[in-house]
Amino acid sequence: MTKKVVRINEATIRFAGDSGDGMQLTGTRFTEATAIVGNDLKTIPNYPSEIRAPLGTLAGVSAFQLMFGSTRVFTPGDMPDTLVAMNPAALKVHLRDLKKGGNILANSNAFTDKNLKMAGWEADPLTDGSLEGYTVYSMEMSKLVGKALESSDLTSKGIERTKNMFALGVLFWMYNRPIQPTEDWLRKKFAKNPSIAEANILAMKTGFNYGETTEIFTTSYSVDKAELPKGKYRNITGNVAVAYGLVAAAKKAGKELFLGSYPITPASEILHTLSGLRNFNVKTFQAEDEIAGISAAIGAAYAGALACTTTSGPGMALKTEAIGLAIITELPLVIVNVQRGGPSTGMPTKMEQSDLLQAVHGRNSDATIPVIAPLDPADCFDCAFEAARIALKYMTPVILLSDGYLGQGSGPWQIPDPKSLPEIKVSHPDSSARTEAGFMPYSRDANEARPWALPGTPGLEHRIGGLEKENITGMVSQDAENHQIMTDIRARKVQNIAKEIPPSEIFGESKGKVLVIGWGSTHGSIHVAVARAQKNGQSVSQLHLRWVSPFPPDLKAICDNFDELLIPEVNMGQLALLLKAELIRPIHQLNKVRGEPFRASEIEEKINEILG
């Protein structure tokens, strides 16, 4: 039988199974193979709550989704075309998202009575007709790998574990991806245990061949290379990209990188990544809590390192007081918040963009701080680098607002040439900075930054601290006039950063009916929605804010050119609040907090509603 190969532009695939089924790994391998093929892509993992739930339950389902295509891909896709369901629970949880007519690849061996019951299926959906309207590929994956690996050294439990590789093999066949990279990877990963490596490879090949030979598959798909800018690429998650951006900034500034952090979902990978970089002059300090994390970072900044601290919402809440200290002592510091759903512990593994107001205004007193938000995983690199550069140049803490969707999601990253990254000039006064009147730790340069005099420098001994300080001299001052001056300087320093923001790029016409404004990880869905609207001939453009404090200087002028403004946010309207106050004009809002990103279609609908 010859099988059809259908050329498609893009596809969205979701792998779903029990937490123990290795879906994250399977997804990652598929992603790597897809990247190597040259497609653009975006991925997003979706695992359940923080706790390992019992096998086979709905709560225990773990998933991984990616979208890839021959044109630019901006999101991990809305509704999957293909769903891999390793057990009944996975099917139960994810079926509702599957496109009508989509493919279901299921491990029928897992559809036992017990599992079906646990997942809340009355009967076996694979056989009772309830999946009508979908294309179901029901495969005895467990049995098939069992057979294929009969002669391996693995225990039967070990053999059963390779079934995800079988599924991967089928998918590789189905979407015409190469298996070699995964073979290589498995051999390297299990170098000490070749029999495991070979068993997994065999399982994968069995799956691949199963697709090729059995009759249940009639069609496979090919997706052409995407027209990405020329260059070297790798796939990267936002969390790793943040870590790399900070390392790069430290190198470019000739500084040691210091991280003070406390583990928290979904930010921990930044700590993990940096902990592994001891040979990069990176010092990581796993502190006793978030307060100690930022405090140690403040201490390290004082002593001369490029200092940073990483966390998520509740941890950010705990850092509130210390952020005030960094602001008043005017020390450089990068504070990363990988947002998650709240309030309180809330929805720790789900994404949300709802810490914006906390970042911009969530402190006692008028305590202004620059806030930057990356728009996709690769942009996490640039934003981290930029945050560090600004912190060092303006002697100020900077908040980087990522989220779980960016941090744990991935996409191709065009690897920059390290040499092309801008140098970051940092200077420390030496003994000659001491005048007859003494050393002036709160004197100001052209950007109103104060000098970064390091302990260990002879003659510049001075004291800083959380009490208000006299401008220039740095003496403790509770003087009325001075407090106003210092408050104004602190606000101005942040405002000054606006001049660093390049002219805003507008996607679409620079004048029109609707301008959709976004920040952070909504970029992709907005982009897709706006692109579709433009295709439909609608007068819609997109403006994306990377800096949310300060706002870009051209913000108002741009907005003035549009009749209507729309802000979609995965929160109840936080940027909208700030922009309404800034622009003094009504703004359409699209808000949802469901622990998941927008679908482009949701934004499209809203655009249509506005355009009437």
Binding site: S295, A297, E461, G466
Partner: protein, 342 residues
């Protein structure tokens, strides 16, 4: 650990080098003055360059200390000094880092950072001004105030049992613990010297009189006349003797410390010998703190050697860098699966 083996670089520093121009703003008669003076006297002879001292404090009367030392100083926020100091030391291990804190700053809000700093054994010196009161906020009881203490926030007497800060330090596995008295210059200087020389986290508890809100709290030992009978100054390797006439000593009795009078029944040889490396001895001394039948122990209560966090971190960086080579951005960026778009 003996003084003679430490070579002191001739730096020609004097006390004056450590006195800044600004005014000291503690209440007249506050015990903090004496500690400050002894710090300023002792640091010049420690063989550390002036610019390498960094004083980190929290908030409280005592935490104003850095403003009165002409060294690098950071008067931070309430309770966080040990954490900030950890960052300072790790970022620049060449610095001689001091943490100045109070019983409120260090053991109320800051208790957790305190025990973690001691546990990690980061090489820094933590000096606790224990006046058993919140001075700066005008006189509430603190976690070291004695049970029944009447203060602004406990007008009928507090129902909080107190901490024994040095005992917490021992529980946290601190490698150096000493206790000194604000009015005892010799003891203070000894503690400062030994702490500064100790590799690892040193904890110094200073009994300090707050003349405004808790005057006389330590009267029995502050008072020169009653001090000899109420204070036990321990010295490593020497028997535990005290008393105006040096006629009293401590023995171990059924696993409890007990005071005996030398002479008829007891001789020096029967007495416990202080061993600063033995945690049971330290524990026994600390048990005497609140016990009216025993004297209050002062001196170097504990000093053991252990690897420091900062040394181990630096060593690990060195080792990994030797094995892997110094990381470059190229190494880093290309560490995953890379493909090229041509």
């Amino acid at each position: 650990m003996s003084e003679s083996i430490i070579e002191i670089e001739e730096l020609n520093l004097t006390r004056k080098d450590f006195v800044p121009g600004n005014e000291v703003r503690w209440c007249p008669g506050c015990g903090d003055y004496s500690v400050l003076a002894n710090m300023q006297k002792t640091l010049p002879i420690m063989g550390v360059k002036k610019e390498n001292y960094a004083f980190i404090s929290g908030i409280g009367c005592s935490s104003r200390f850095p403003y009165y030392m002409d060294t690098y100083g950071f008067h931070s926020i309430h309770g966080r000094a040990p954490a900030i100091a950890s960052g300072v030391k790790l970022a620049n291990p060449d610095l001689a880092v001091w943490v100045i804190t109070g019983d409120g700053d260090g053991f109320s809000i800051g208790g957790n950072h305190m025990i973690h700093a001691l546990r990690r054994n980061i090489d820094m010196n933590i000096m606790l001004f224990n006046n058993r009161i919140y001075g700066l906020t005008k006189g509430q009881y603190s976690p070291t105030s004695l049970l029944g203490k009447k203060t602004k926030s406990s007008p009928f007497g507090s129902v909080d049992r107190p901490f024994n800060p040095s005992a917490i330090a021992l529980g946290a596995n601190a490698t150096f613990i000493s206790r000194a008295l604000d009015v005892d210059a010799k003891g203070l200087q000894e503690s400062i010297k030994r702490a500064q020389r100790h590799k690892g986290a040193s904890f110094i508890e200073v009994y300090q009189n707050c003349i405004i809100f808790n005057d006389g709290e330590f009267e029995d030992v502050e008072n020169k006349a009653s001090r000899p009978d109420n204070a036990l100054f321990v010295v490593h390797g020497e028997p535990m003797i005290f008393g105006k006439d040096s006629d009293k000593g401590i023995i171990m009795n059924d696993h409890h410390p007990k005071v005996v009078t030398l002479g008829k029944d007891w001789t020096e040889k029967d007495l416990l010998v202080h061993d600063e490396t033995n945690s049971i001895i330290t524990n026994l001394l600390l048990e005497m703190t609140f016990d009216p039948t025993n004297p209050t122990p002062f001196g170097i209560l504990r000093a053991v050697e252990a690897p420091t966090y900062d040394d181990m971190l630096v060593a690990q960086i060195k080792e990994i860098t030797e094995i892997r080579g110094e990381g470059t951005l190229e190494n880093l960026f290309y560490s995953g699966d890379v493909w090229e778009v041509k």
